[in-house]
């Protein structure tokens, strides 16, 4: 069974043969000009896996850890359990069982991460750039310094790595904000004392 090629705009089915080779095709309905790049998985999509998947084990054969009646087709590369076709989860070039996949902290599974260095830089530099935020310097300045130092060893961006440069920028911004507020308070006290 092959997948279907349809126009992303009007969803009209298109002829994959006309689109092969990276040629431009025009949708007959909406006239959208499409550049299509087909891959072998388009012609042969992966077979659907269901609870009925996997062969029944014969007497003396290794069976799946999770399904005692199914023949083992693979071994989990983390825990070593035998797995049937249903329980074998090919992921990032490895064969894993569902429980190992669930418990693992693989970088390939992370879908969200806070980049604390960037947050510290935002707290440190944004109020300085937007000068009208000066009444908040007492909060944002210490926050920037605290976040930069507290989260210094936290893993950074998945693609950029730990961004210590941004954390340092946050510390500099935070120190400048605190210094500004101390200067303002000192100036206020000085002016009150001298009438």
């Amino acid at each position: 069974m092959t997948a279907t090629l349809s126009c992303p705009r009007c969803h009209l089915a298109l002829d994959p043969a006309a689109a092969s080779g990276g040629a431009e095709v025009a949708c007959a309905a909406c006239r959208a000009v499409l550049t299509v790049r087909l891959f072998p998985a388009f012609e042969t999509p992966p077979e659907a896996v269901s609870a009925a998947s996997g062969e029944r084990a014969l007497e003396g054969e290794a069976v799946c850890f999770f399904h005692a009646d199914k023949r083992a087709a693979a071994t989990c590369e983390r825990c070593g359990r035998f797995l049937c076709a249903l329980c074998d989860v090919p992921f990032a070039g490895k064969h894993l069982c569902p429980s190992c996949l669930d418990a693992s902290k693989l970088p390939d599974l992370i879908n969200r991460r806070v980049v604390w260095g960037q947050v510290a830089a935002l707290f440190g530099m944004l109020p300085l750039a937007l000068c009208f935020l000066w009444p908040f310097y007492f909060i944002t300045g210490p926050c920037a310094i605290f976040l930069a130092l507290w989260k210094w060893k936290e893993p950074g961006s998945l693609v950029h790595g730990p961004r210590h440069g941004l954390a340092i920028l946050g510390v500099i911004g935070g120190v400048l904000q605190v210094a500004t507020m101390i200067g303002l308070v000192w100036g206020l006290i000085f002016s009150i004392r001298n009438g």
Partner: protein
């Protein structure tokens, strides 16, 4: 666990939007879309073995940007011409003459942006089809960039699918 920081190669530059930035990266066996908003990165992956096709639909982005930039440039150029015309009796002493120079400079910037926009090529919206369905890719937004990326990742995807098959 050691992170594959060095295993990622940038495919597109950061694209700025209302919700933050987005860029496409090439991983060892997948495409990674990184969306960043206010210090929080979100990751979306498409594994090579799952990608069935990439389709880019041409958009009128280049035309629209050229129309907007050209209109602004034309208005600024008209303003500059009017300033020069009114100040031509004694250009050196007239402040209107300098206003004209500033307007002409901005018109030149608009013209430059229109030329750059034309060189970057037509705009597009890219969709990737996997067994989970078609999903739009936030980047790339230019057909030239899409063709360059497709030429780069195409052989990698085909090799991964031959290996899996």
């Amino acid at each position: 666990m050691a992170e594959p920081t060095s295993n990622f190669q940038r495919l597109t530059r950061n694209r700025f939007g209302l919700a933050g930035t987005g860029a496409l990266w090439l991983g060892p066996d997948h495409l990674l879309l990184v969306s960043n908003s206010g210090g929080v990165e979100r990751y979306r992956r498409w594994f090579f073995k799952d990608i069935q096709l990439l389709v880019a639909r041409r958009t009128a982005r280049r035309l629209i940007l050229n129309l907007i930039g050209g209109s602004f440039g034309a208005l600024l150029a008209l303003g500059a011409l009017a300033s020069f015309a009114s100040a031509k009796t004694d250009p050196a002493d007239s402040p209107v003459f300098y206003v004209g120079i500033v307007l002409a400079s901005f018109a030149g910037v608009c013209l430059g942006l229109c030329i750059a926009n034309s060189i970057f090529g037509p705009g597009c919206i890219v969709h990737v089809l996997t067994p989970m369905g078609a999903e739009p890719l936030a980047a790339p937004r230019r057909l030239n960039v899409f063709n360059r990326i497709a030429a780069r990742i195409g052989p990698l995807i085909e090799a991964a699918q031959r290996k899996a098959g």
